[in-house]
Symmetry: C2
Subunit: 290 residues, 2 copies
């Protein structure tokens, strides 16, 4: 069994980006993180992204707005960033407060600065296999993990669990792209799927992004399958000081004995999301250079 | 076995549109068809669309340009239509000559006037389940056939054959939407798929859009399956004056005895594509009214 070490692969990608950034002239890529409120998970996610930027030489700026900010004010703040030529990438950390429509905010970011890949135009380009767009970071990270582990997908049956806009759908579209890390037969399952176990059992590659702890049990997996676990779920664990630990959507401990390759949680897809964000920022910067 | 009569269903939809158009004031929806060159299939497709428009009271205009038109000139012609407030819908008939990039032309049409649903923004909206966009006509027609035949898709396994941008991918995304005519488990197969027969055999609903005559044979189908045949293929037929006849991607004659419902070719999906185009034109017009 091969453990797909996302932490290690992400570190390698960040090193590559660091080298590229070092080769640039005086002006460096710059990303602005926008956070609304003090949600502890958001604080921690943004901090990880700031650290990754610092490591690579990408300039980052953090704008924090109070939970009380109106949608219109937030739109104006984003428009100011859109108009600022020294900002190449903009990331608005989700979730936003309930009185603000996330879709509207994500679409306010200029497609060229949308390093998250959530803008309608970038999703459309992903579907159209138009490489000029930004690809959403987690789906891009899933494909990159396979590439760097020499696991081709051509002709293989990929079963994606989850149909979210930020993971399930875009990753499914990527697996349908032409090329050795596309060209897969893709099945998308979700909460309404019947006989989910018998479908997952057919998968050469399982991408679990359904957000339920240990949803995929070992009996659902075909021996020799490759498992990419996107889930990050908290479960109680009285042995930890925090009282909980993070687990994926797959029962890793049981699965690891029958699969050919698997990502751990944490340390699998998570670090890749941050690395792909830096890659998108570098690309957005390079695009402004022409 | 239920024959899903696309011709009849399309006629009903056109009647509904006729009633709606009649209720409008003096200004009627107007669509402009753009054809480049004299490809006989394109001539015939556009003529069908003109007839449907005439039937419903939608104003149509046909602009024909010579095969020698440059991409830049064609772009300018489309921009003039974009800027014309009396044109609500624009349809550029594919295929275009080789020296013109179809993607570029489709993206030149304003998303609001893109009644074909091929613009990047409209594809992105389809993916994001944003109902404000135009849905590509053939995929929309497939869903509408099921709706009007009371065949729900929730929880069913839909196998789509083909991953094209104009049918396979958008129809797959529609089946993943939330709702009784979405919420399906979707598998997308294509030329690189292995064991395609065993995958199709699992399908409750098969959508064949692979462009190969009689590719789906009866042994590939699960008894009781629903079959939507998008293919339109010419095969030799010496008994016809023309020397050929049109058949679908499915071996209809053999399949009809074991399926629960099936579309014929011709007379299935084809007429629906035209009907949905008229629906998109009416919607584009209504959107300008606010």
């Amino acid at each position: 069994m091969k453990l797909i070490d996302g932490k290690q692969i992400a570190a390698t990608i960040l090193e590559e980006i660091t080298e590229e950034v070092a080769k640039l002239g005086d002006q460096k890529p710059a990303v602005t993180f926008v956070r609304v409120g003090e949600d502890p998970a958001s604080v921690s996610y943004v901090r990880n992204k700031e650290r990754a930027a610092a490591k690579t030489g990408i300039i980052s700026d953090l704008k924090v707005f109070p939970e009380s900010i109106s949608q219109q004010e937030l739109i104006q703040e984003i428009q100011a960033l859109n108009n600022n030529p020294n900002v190449h990438g903009i990331l608005v950390q989700a979730p936003l407060p309930n009185h603000i429509d996330e879709g509207t905010i994500f679409r306010t970011v200029l497609p060229e600065k949308d390093v998250d890949g959530f803008h309608t135009v970038n999703i459309g380009k992903l579907c159209q296999e138009d490489a000029s767009g930004s690809v959403a970071c987690t789906p891009a990270g899933v494909i990159e993990l396979l590439k760097r582990s020499d696991i081709t997908t051509e002709g293989k049956h990929v079963v994606v669990l989850g149909r979210s806009l930020i993971v399930g759908k875009p990753v499914s579209l990527l697996f349908l792209h032409k090329g050795a890390f596309g060209n897969a037969t893709v099945t998308v399952c979700h909460s309404r799927t019947q006989n989910i176990a018998s479908i997952v059992k057919q998968a050469d590659i399982v991408v679990a992004a359904i957000g339920r702890a240990h949803f995929v049990t070992v009996d659902m997996l075909k021996p020799g399958a490759v498992v990419i676990d996107v889930g990050i779920n908290r479960i109680e664990d009285s042995s930890r000081k925090s009282g909980y630990r993070l687990v994926g959507d797959v029962d890793f401990e049981a699965a690891k004995d029958i699969v050919s390759a698997i990502t751990p949680v944490p340390g699998g897809v998570g670090p890749m999301t941050v690395a792909m964000l830096m890659k998108n920022t570098l690309r957005a910067f390079q695009a402004t250079r022409g």
